[in-house]
Symmetry: C2
Amino acid sequence: MSQKVKASTLPGFLELLPQDQIMFNEMMDTIRRNFEKHGFLPIDTPAIERSEVLLAKGGGNTEKQMYRFKKGDTDMSLRFDLTVPLARYTVEHFNELSFPFRRYHIGKVYRGEKAQRGRFREFYQCDIDTIGNGSIDIANDAEFPVVIYHTFKELGFEDFTIRINNRRLLKGFYESLGISDSVEVLRIVDKIDKIGKENVKSELMELGLNEDQADRIVEFTLIEGSTEEIFKALEDLNIENEIFNIGFNELKQVMNYIEEYDVPSKNCVVDLKIARGLDYYTGTVYETSLDNYPNVGSVCSGGRYDDLASHYTDKKLPGVGLSIGLSRLFYQLNEAKIIQAKKKSLVDLIVIPMDGFIDAGIRLVSKFRNSGIDTIVYTEEGKLGKKFKYADALNIPYVVVIGENEVKTERYTLRNMETGDQDELTVEEIVERLK
Amino acid sequence: MSQKVKASTLPGFLELLPQDQIMFNEMMDTIRRNFEKHGFLPIDTPAIERSEVLLAKGGGNTEKQMYRFKKGDTDMSLRFDLTVPLARYTVEHFNELSFPFRRYHIGKVYRGEKAQRGRFREFYQCDIDTIGNGSIDIANDAEFPVVIYHTFKELGFEDFTIRINNRRLLKGFYESLGISDSVEVLRIVDKIDKIGKENVKSELMELGLNEDQADRIVEFTLIEGSTEEIFKALEDLNIENEIFNIGFNELKQVMNYIEEYDVPSKNCVVDLKIARGLDYYTGTVYETSLDNYPNVGSVCSGGRYDDLASHYTDKKLPGVGLSIGLSRLFYQLNEAKIIQAKKKSLVDLIVIPMDGFIDAGIRLVSKFRNSGIDTIVYTEEGKLGKKFKYADALNIPYVVVIGENEVKTERYTLRNMETGDQDELTVEEIVERLK
């Protein structure tokens, strides 16, 4: 007996059994369908890029996590997100694209980070972005929550909240307090739900802010209420700062457009706590959470950026985008048993031939298939119980057995595998029943 | 101005513009839908595997073409096909799978081979396989041509030929001539369409066969006719060899089942020239070609194998499988302008607001979307001509312009972008027209 190699995936890589894969694909299809019907165009870029392209922005954590290798003299890496490939794609194909360029991209990305529960080294991202040539209207910022609203609705959720904020609003407010560098402030404020307001205050003071500044930031961040109430409170602050006013105006426009897109106000709210840690974002920012499953965390997020591809081109390419981390979302929903496949089996019927009747079974399958019933035939010999067990394991909803008697009478017992009900029917009657 | 990184993909990697991507995805969806309705279950394995797993079978060309790298101490590689991952998957999840295990897998594979026209270093394979636990009935061999028939039909082809042969039949015939090692003979015979019968004869004689053996092999290989005629000719040879008889019987059963599956005999034929170079296959083998596009070559091929996973397990896992090389197929069909997208645009309508009317445009889009018309809005300011050009570039079939007059009258001009026809209609009338 020869030495065997252990059949195992690498740690940190998600791999599903077929029944879970059906559910995963259903989610992916729903996301894709919603991206497409809102007018985002598909792209699919290579998973491997030149390392120089991926590292153009400068390394840090990203570089450490990259799967990087050489083939011949070429230094290449697996992509770690879909945004850098989008930037490269937009510049490479600039003359062949129409702007605003609205694209979606669903694909695998790779990060060799420490393996931990619910984090994967290979995972699917589902991204939509709209890229402008030179400029892009604020109306685009309103489109993303609309797509997300319809997507999550169709995924089966009622209670989810898309939280919207504007980084210019925050930056302008901090400036009005005399704080010119907002990057670190934003990073701290973004944690307020996790670490609480006292810790935010003390971290802000550690940063060099005085107590009054820190208090006012915390107070501002915690302004709550309906969109109208928040806007009223912001107006009452009487802040005279241009960036604040630009941001406030943008936020008002975005919320107004979202309303005109018929998104219920319960699903889409202003939340001044959403700051997003990344300094990449410059205006509108989004985060989405499932109200009944706070542990799942943010299920999709994004925002507006001023310059997508400054590392590859002098052209100014501002954009807005949003990303769903599908693998992580699926894993968490599945672990918590929140999701169920709409269709547990991809076929409607299995024909089980008695031993020696595979021939008749195939003829019968053909009849069902020609009538539009997705049918398979069990091909192996064996006990009837084993054959039924197979149908059951595959969640196939209906079984027809065929043997000598059925061939003679042309009447077949149709068994509903869920209820156990059986009926003796002709092919036509079975087709009618199943349609 | 900072130094820019060149925005380019690596050579040998396929990347499509959105309009071509729509077409590519349509093909992939058609393939997937056909795999699913014939009862193949989805799996999706990591693109990265332990190198030891991928190399278990032993290297050769494969090893040289692999993208192999280390992360920490782990030696890993990108998969070069979907068969090795299937073997690993089947063994790893053996106890959780139901046999016969019918799976499909559509995914990217990687081969760092020399770049040449129409060959890619990253490409999609679309595989179906049925794996038995210990054994698997010959009825399964008949299922694959059926799936391929329906898939290519739905892809829009009428004239294609699925060629079927049986390696046992060939092996038994060679044995009856006194040739015990058939591997090299098969490799040579497989080239007969490319190099011609004279060259096959001389190569066989170089291998050590005598002239009579070579002549008889060439003669046998070139037996032609309908299935009945070929079977008659084979019977008339009166070959007394057990392996030949097993193979002949299998071939007869397979062709009989295929007929019972209602596949037209013009699309599925016996062809004794199909030997397949790979020594992996043991029984039934398939190849498929497009009759009107011989240059495209074999568009999908496969066959039966006795032992899927002997490098990982002592369990005997025989199977049958078939693979479509989608990227190459798409590239060739697209280059030859053979294919066209059924739906060139994923949305039905674009609303173009006159400058200053984006607000009204969004309200209008909402009405269309709520009525089930997939609609987008053009968001940027500019000349009307530029906005129409955008609709045209994206192949969006209908345009509605909205400005002061339209807001007042609630009647809109619907323009058919293909014919140029225009009609002044209400929202309800437009919805009716577009549905």
